[in-house]
Symmetry: C4
Subunit: 263 residues, 4 copies
């Protein structure tokens, strides 16, 4: 009997209408979250509460079906997306009454919208490819962090007394440097320190050049990676290489000279 149920639930899980209704509930959930950011009448507010309970139950129901229908229950929680879904569903189940935790409860519900990514396969592929690109860029990010760290240390040593709000300690300095990297009112910061140290423009210009150049390299790194992968994907289709063709030609020549000698 359990087997029959499992088969039925598996069929349900694979059902197109079921999938679309899951997407629909996620969209409703997103709209509900959006609606709560507006000033609501008491009536509208009670509607969202009912809606919230319905969504929580529906997600619990869907997760249960997915779990029962899964042929390999042991590794169910080993997949990242399943863990994410389970967490979002179970944290929503915790009843929160006192007002202090209300904000936290709301924030948790926001992540329901991210379930869109775990449900739509195309988005999941996109996120996975983004995550796959990250480690390859690890060393460029480390290099940029070192550049930031050194400039932040120099900045807070030299400019500390000029403006402690911007150069107070190394943490604040790194935030200021990030601001300079985005070109956001960076000349105001520069003019301020240039009044004390007229040559401090070297600090800013060299920093902008280094980060821009490192960033550029990062971008090129990604592009080359992506193309390399495309290339390898093409090779995986088992197109013969030029080396293989050359090998074939050599065999033909050997056959021919053999044939010539026979005569």
């Amino acid at each position: 009997m359990y087997q029959t149920l499992k088969a039925k639930l598996f069929a349900l899980k694979e059902n197109k209408i079921f999938e679309l209704s899951v997407v629909a509930v996620i969209i409703i959930s997103a709209l509900e979250i959006g609606a709560k950011t507006f000033q609501l009448s008491d009536q509208a507010y009670s509607i969202t509460s009912v809606l919230d309970a319905f969504i929580t139950l529906f997600f619990l129901f869907e997760l249960t079906i997915r779990f029962i229908a899964d042929p390999d229950k042991k590794s169910f929680l080993k997949k990242g997306w399943n863990i994410f879904d389970t967490l979002v569903v179970f944290v929503s189940l915790i009843p929160i009454d006192n007002s202090e935790m209300a904000l936290l409860a709301r924030l948790v519900r926001v992540f329901r919208v991210l379930r869109m990514v775990s449900v739509v396969p195309e988005l999941r592929v996109l996120i996975n490819s983004l995550l796959k690109a990250l480690p390859q860029l690890g060393y460029v990010i480390l290099l940029m962090f070192i550049i930031f760290y050194i400039y932040a240390a120099i900045g807070s040593f030299i400019f500390h007394d000029i403006n402690p709000t911007l150069w107070g300690d190394i943490a604040i300095s790194m935030l200021t440097l990030f601001r300079i990297m985005t070109f956001e009112d960076w000349t105001d910061i520069q003019y301020e320190t240039m009044e004390v140290y007229p040559f401090s423009w070297i600090f800013y210009l060299s920093f902008i050049f280094f980060t821009a150049f490192a960033f550029l390299n990062m971008v090129i790194g990604i592009v080359v990676n992506v193309m390399e992968e495309e290339h390898q994907a093409a090779r995986a289709k088992k197109e013969p290489t030029l080396t293989e063709l050359q090998q074939e030609l050599k065999e033909i020549k050997a056959l021919l000279s053999q044939s010539n000698q026979h005569k």
Copy 2:
């Protein structure tokens, strides 16, 4: 007799001078629209009115010719550019007298300039290729929208009371986030919330990283797409693949070993 007219009109439509005069009238129409944005003397204003009538009539005349000369009248309105042209021409025909609608009438006339795109084939090709690239990027845009939505929800939950003008509800928050994405005075917004929540810089930095990374992927997506298309266009020229060459080599070997056995 209708056939003769149709042939004549078709010849006219294909005529180089006719094409150029259409382009000329569109440019005149553009200049007239530009002139109207300046303070005009009464005399100059009456000239633009006459000009406007002439342009409207010319466009109606040109559209009629194009319609009559079209060999397949049923699908005339199925082409996007034809619909666009017809709409622009017919909306200009509606007489508008009262001053309230005057602004709307002016705006409709502005779109006459867009007719340049429907008339110059190179621009049409450009626009078509832009439109073709859009659906392929659909999922990246959807992903970016989800990122915006989640951050806007979190932003308006947490920062609502700090500055309702920026974080009042989810719609305003999304506009604020777009502003942050363009780096426009984003640190002012950040410093304001950091006074209440000192760790809110995490919110801004993570948002900037996510959107920059997603945008980067979008760009790379387009580049790879464009190159893929170039590649396929090259293949369509019927260059043999390496696999086909390998097949030929195998046939030669078979012929050779056959030849060797004969002896």
Copy 3:
């Protein structure tokens, strides 16, 4: 005798030391121009005047040598760079005394620095390749101009009364739109019009999207062009195509089957 002089001058023109001294005089000329922007003592000022006369004479001397040494004098002024050099030299020769023209004389001397480009071959190649890329991008630039024109017309029709300094007429509006494209304080402009027309954010966001997208396409256009050229340069080295290889294989097969039939 003229022939001997010509040969000697040609040898001088090709001389490495002569070339380097031309570059040196251009650098001195650049430094002199830079020095004039500072407050100079009377003594220093008189030095620059002497220097200026020397540079003018040296350039005249160099141009004369280049002209005499040129084997094809008729087409001397057909080359863009020669025209540029001649213009710079002769305009510097015009004596200017009254103070009103002094500024113009200074400006003309600034362009002497550009002679660096006409003298260093690597820079000339760079500039030529930049100029070569421009016409291919012509239609994208035309499209962007149309987008700017339409948005500027709409902007000055609707927002004219809100802020005439920004939206007064179509010319000012185009400048304002360029400012918006560079993201320079664009939200101030937006918030101002949103007080009157709450939905005017659609105007700004759609404009930013269109121009960013068109710009992106322009960049990709250049990249693809550059790669295409690299590709063609590789082809020009006469590597055989796959089609040619296939042809050779077919000939071999024909030979073989002929050989088999003979037996």
Copy 4:
């Protein structure tokens, strides 16, 4: 006996744990530098002093080992990274007591963080590839400098009296132009000069176009360079070229026709 020591030190140098402990000391050194930017209690301050002495000694110890273990002592100081390491270590050894030099001493210690690059091979590769790309871009950088210089000269000639803080002399003007290139409050500068010279927007727009276009070319230059290198790396793997394959085919044909003639 020296040989045994050398062998032992070489083994130590290659030891994984030793390498990791060097990285660990660099990280501790970085944290110590960061800590010093905060307000420290007297106790904490004395700890950093002890730590500083330990780090200096450790680095001296590590450098000694690397030098003794190096098989080719003569060229030890010819490698850039070794010079850098030696400099950082020996400058740290100079005792600095008076307060005026304290800042300089701190700054020198900041560069210890850069030792991370000299120790981690992946980062060294990254930096080397960045340095390798620079000379190829030399002429583009020279061209950009010429553009900056000319615009700065024109700017300080014409706009000098409008705002000497921005256009005082050619050096200040170049800084102002760099600011304009980053789009940082550039319209404020523009509106100021447009009040005196209404057509000065041509100056700014043309400058933005030239620098943006030159920058774009620089980026494309890097991309094409990187791809060219990838391409050559692939070729170095000794894949036969199409020309070589064609050669083989020709030899086969010669053999065949020879074989046919024999009969």
